[in-house]
C-alpha cells in the first residue's frame, strides 16, 4: 500500500479518475435531462456504443478527430429522435424499449465493426490540452488542468445544465413536465416538445460520451462500453436527479475505477481478487440506490407517457 501513497502515484490516480469519470458524466447528465422531463432512457449504453463506433470509424476514414467526435454526437441525435418517437409519441413501455435500443446498438456496432474494420486498428487519441498558468501549478495542474478538451467540456456542462434547469424558463418547463405534465400542459407548455428536446439533448450527450471513450482509448471493440451506460443511468439516481449530484457520483465512480486500476498495476490487489474488486462499483451503486431511494423522490411522471385529457 505504501507504493500507492506516493505523491506521484496519487496525482496520477486522481488525474486518471477525472479522465475516467468524463464519459459517465456526459451520459449521466444527458440522462438527467431526460428523466427530469419524465422520460426514462434505458438505451444509453447502446447509444454510447453507436457514438463510439461512429467516432472510431470516422476517424479511421478521415483522420480528423473532431469530425469523428461530431459524428458521434450526430449519431446520438439520430438515436435521440428514434427514442423520442418511441417513448413520447408512441408511448412505449420505457423500461423495455430502452433494452431494445441497447441490443440494437450492441448488435449493430459489433456487426459493422466486423464487417467494415475487421482487425482492430488504433486511431490517434485526443491530445491533452494544458490550460495556461493553471496547468503549471505543481501537482494541482497535473491533476486537474492537463486533460483533453472533452473532459473539460463534460465538467463545464455540469454548470451549464444546473443553470438551465434552475434558472431558465426552459428548465422550469422541463421540471414541470416531469412532475405534473397535465398541469404543465394546461398552462400551455408543450409536453411533447419539451420531452423531445430533453431526449435529443440526452442522447446527443450519450453519443458524445461514446465518442469520448473512443478518442481516449483510441480503439473500438465489441461491447466497448461494457455496461458503462447502465451505470450512468444509476448515477442519475445516485445524484438524485441534480447535475451536481451526478457530478459527485461520476467523480466517485471515476476515482474508484482509477484506484482499482492503480492498485492492480502496483500489485496491491492479488490477481485472484481483481475480479472481486471489479464488482465493487456495482455493489456500491446498489447500496447508494438504497440510500437515495429513502431520501429523494424521483420525478413524479418518470417513465409515464402523457395523454392529454385523461
Amino acid at each position: 500500500v505504501s507504493k500507492f501513497l506516493t505523491v506521484a502515484a496519487l496525482t496520477a490516480t486522481v488525474a486518471s479518475g477525472i479522465r475516467l469519470s468524463a464519459p459517465f458524466l456526459l451520459a449521466a447528465l444527458g440522462e438527467t435531462m431526460g428523466q427530469r422531463s419524465g422520460v426514462l432512457n434505458l438505451g444509453v449504453d447502446g447509444v454510447m456504443l453507436l457514438g463510439a463506433f461512429a467516432t472510431y470509424y470516422t476517424v479511421l476514414q478521415t483522420g480528423d478527430l473532431w469530425v469523428g467526435v461530431l459524428a458521434g454526437g450526430a449519431v446520438g441525435l439520430i438515436m435521440g429522435l428514434v427514442t423520442a418517437i418511441v417513448s413520447v409519441t408512441l408511448k412505449a413501455e420505457q423500461g423495455i424499449s430502452g433494452i431494445g435500443v441497447y441490443l440494437f446498438g450492441l448488435g449493430v456496432t459489433d456487426l459493422l465493426f466486423q464487417k467494415l474494420v475487421g482487425t482492430p486498428r488504433p486511431i490517434s487519441s485526443l491530445p491533452a490540452f494544458k490550460i495556461p498558468l493553471l496547468g503549471d501549478i505543481p501537482l494541482i495542474g497535473k491533476m486537474f488542468f492537463r486533460h483533453n478538451v472533452l473532459v473539460y467540456a463534460a465538467f463545464a456542462l455540469v454548470v451549464v445544465l444546473a443553470f438551465v434547469l434552475n434558472r431558465t424558463t426552459f428548465g422550469t418547463n422541463v421540471k414541470a413536465v416531469g412532475e405534473n405534465p397535465a398541469a404543465a400542459d394546461s398552462l400551455g407548455v408543450s409536453v411533447t416538445r419539451t420531452r423531445y428536446t430533453t431526449v435529443l439533448i440526452g442522447n446527443m450527450l450519450a453519443g458524445l460520451a461514446g465518442a469520448t471513450l473512443a478518442v481516449e482509448l483510441g480503439i473500438f471493440q465489441q461491447n466497448l462500453t461494457a455496461g458503462q451506460g447502465f451505470i450512468a443511468i444509476a448515477l442519475v439516481y445516485f445524484g438524485a436527479w441534480r447535475p451536481t449530484g451526478v457530478l459527485a457520483g461520476s467523480l466517485l465512480y471515476g476515482m474508484v475505477a482509477a484506484t482499482v486500476l492503480a492498485w492492480k498495476s502496483l500489485g496491491i490487489i492479488p490477481r485472484g481478487a481483481s475480479d472481486l474488486a471489479a464488482m465493487a462499483p456495482a455493489v456500491i451503486t446498489v447500496i447508494a440506490l438504497v440510500v437515495v431511494a429513502r431520501r429523494f423522490r424521483q420525478p413524479a411522471a418518470l417513465a409515464r407517457p402523457f395523454v392529454r385529457g385523461l
Partner: protein, 396 residues
C-alpha cells in the same frame, strides 16, 4: 352448411381480431424488413440470406433439434419475465440470474459426484433454481422494502454476477487439469456423468432440457391462473393500492415475483451447463459468453408471446430458430451473427411501440395519467408505502 358455418366463424373471429393482436406479427415483419435493408447494405442478398436462415433453423430434423435446444433457455427466462411482468415488476436481471443459477447448479454437482442420475439431475436443477431465486429475490426485496428501482438493481446484479463467476471459475472451481497448464482456460472439470441431461433423440443435440422448459411453462400457467398465489401476483400487478386494501401482503408478493422469475432464469442456467456438449461451466469473462444473451432475449420472447407461457413457448421456438439460422449467415453470406442481436433489439422496440403489450397485460388501465396526479395535493410524505421507483414505470 359447412361453408356458411366456416364463414360465420371467420366473420366472428374477424370481429374480435383487432390490430392489437397482430402487433407482434407487424413487429416481426418490420424487423425483417429493416434486417433486409441492412443485409442489402452489407452487400448480401436478403432473399438468399433469409432462405439460408430458414433452412438452417427449420429445414431438417437436425435443424429443428438445434432450434429446440436454443429455445430452452429462452422459454425458461421468458416465462420468468412473464411472471414478474404480471406482477408489474420488470426483471432485466435474467443474465445475472442465469449465471448464478449455473454456478449453484455446478457447485451442487461438484458436491455430490457419486449420486445416481435420477437423484442428481433433479438436485442440480433445484440448485440452479435456488441460485437464480436468490439473485432475483435480492432486487425483489430491495424494491419491496427499500423502494429501490428494480431495473437498476437487476442490471447492477448482472455486473456483480459475472465477476463472481469469473473469480470462482478462475479460482476455487478451476479444473485441476488446467492449473499446471499454460493457457488456464477458466472452466470447471467435467461434471459428474450422472448429471448429464439425457439426449432424447439419438444423433441430435436434443436433450431433456426441452422437457424441463415445457414443464416449467405449464407450471407457470397453473401458478398464474389456477392458484391463490398467482391471483395475488396478478392482483398486485394490476393495482398495488387495491391489493393492499384487500389485505394482500404486497411487499412479500413483489419479492416473491422477482424470486420466482429469477428461479426460472437460474433453471435456464443449470440446463445450459448440464445440457452443454462439454458438460462443464466455462467463462469467456462475459455474461453473454455463458448465457448467449438469453437473459435479454427472454424479454423479447416474453413480449412477443403476449406475456403468456404458451405464447412464450411458441415465440421461443421462433427466436431459437432465428439464433440458429443467424449463426449460419456467417458461413453462407459472410454476415456476422451480431445481426441477430440487432434485429432482436429492433423487435423489442417495435413490439413495445404498439398498444399490444399494454393492452394484453392490462398493465395500463384505461387512464394512464391523472387519477393520482390531480388528487388532493402531494401526499408521498404520509403514504404508508411510498411507491417504489419501478412502480411508476408501469403503473398508472
Amino acid at each position: 352448411m359447412v361453408a356458411t358455418k366456416v364463414t360465420r366463424l371467420w366473420k366472428r373471429s374477424r370481429g374480435r381480431l383487432r390490430v392489437g393482436s397482430l402487433a407482434p406479427v407487424i413487429a416481426a415483419v418490420g424487423a425483417l424488413v429493416v434486417g433486409a435493408v441492412m443485409l442489402w447494405a452489407l452487400g448480401a442478398s436478403p432473399l438468399h440470406a433469409y432462405r439460408v436462415l430458414f433452412q438452417e433453423a427449420f429445414g431438417s430434423v437436425d435443424a429443428l433439434a438445434s432450434t429446440a435446444v436454443k429455445a430452452i433457455p429462452l422459454v425458461l427466462v421468458g416465462v420468468g419475465i412473464t411472471i414478474a411482468f404480471r406482477a408489474n415488476v420488470l426483471n432485466i436481471g435474467g443474465e445475472g440470474q442465469m449465471v448464478v443459477g449455473g454456478l449453484t447448479a455446478t457447485v451442487t454437482a461438484l458436491a455430490f459426484p457419486r449420486l445416481p442420475a435420477p437423484v442428481l439431475i433433479p438436485l442440480v436443477l433445484l440448485g440452479g433454481a435456488a441460485g437464480g431465486a436468490l439473485w432475483g429475490g435480492i432486487p425483489g426485496a430491495l424494491k419491496a422494502y427499500f423502494n429501490v428501482n428494480e431495473i437498476l438493481s437487476t442490471i447492477m446484479l448482472n455486473i456483480v454476477a459475472v465477476q463472481v463467476m469469473n473469480s470462482l471459475l478462475r479460482g476455487p472451481l478451476l479444473d485441476q487439469t488446467q492449473v499446471g497448464g499454460l493457457s488456464r482456460v477458466p472452466q470447471t472439470e467435467r461434471l459428474s456423468h450422472s448429471a448429464d441431461l439425457p439426449i432424447l433423440i439419438g444423433g441430435t443435440r436434443l436433450h431433456a432440457g426441452v422437457l424441463v422448459a415445457l414443464i416449467a411453462a405449464a407450471a407457470a400457467y397453473v401458478l398464474l391462473w389456477r392458484t391463490t398465489l398467482g391471483f395475488r401476483l396478478r392482483a398486485v400487478g394490476l393495482s398495488r393500492e387495491a391489493s393492499r386494501y384487500a389485505g394482500m401482503p404486497v411487499r412479500r408478493t413483489i419479492t416473491l415475483a422477482l424470486a420466482l422469475s429469477g428461479a426460472m432464469a437460474g433453471l435456464a442456467g443449470a440446463v445450459l451447463v448440464f445440457g452443454s456438449e462439454s458438460h462443464r461451466m466455462v467463462t469467456d469473462g462475459t455474461t453473454t459468453g455463458f448465457t448467449g444473451a438469453a437473459g435479454f432475449n427472454g424479454i423479447v420472447v416474453a413480449l412477443f408471446g403476449g406475456l403468456h407461457p404458451l405464447g412464450t413457448v411458441l415465440a421461443s421456438f421462433l427466436f431459437g430458430g432465428l439464433l440458429v439460422g443467424g449463426n449460419a449467415l456467417q458461413r453462407a453470406v459472410q454476415v456476422p451473427s451480431a445481426l441477430i442481436v440487432a434485429l432482436n433489439g429492433l423487435i423489442v422496440v417495435f413490439v413495445v411501440s404498439t398498444e399490444f403489450v399494454r393492452r394484453r397485460a392490462r398493465l395500463r388501465p384505461e387512464s394512464p395519467e391523472g387519477a393520482r396526479d390531480v388528487g388532493p395535493g402531494p401526499e408521498p410524505a404520509v403514504e404508508p408505502e411510498p411507491l417504489a421507483a419501478g412502480t411508476d414505470l408501469v403503473e398508472p
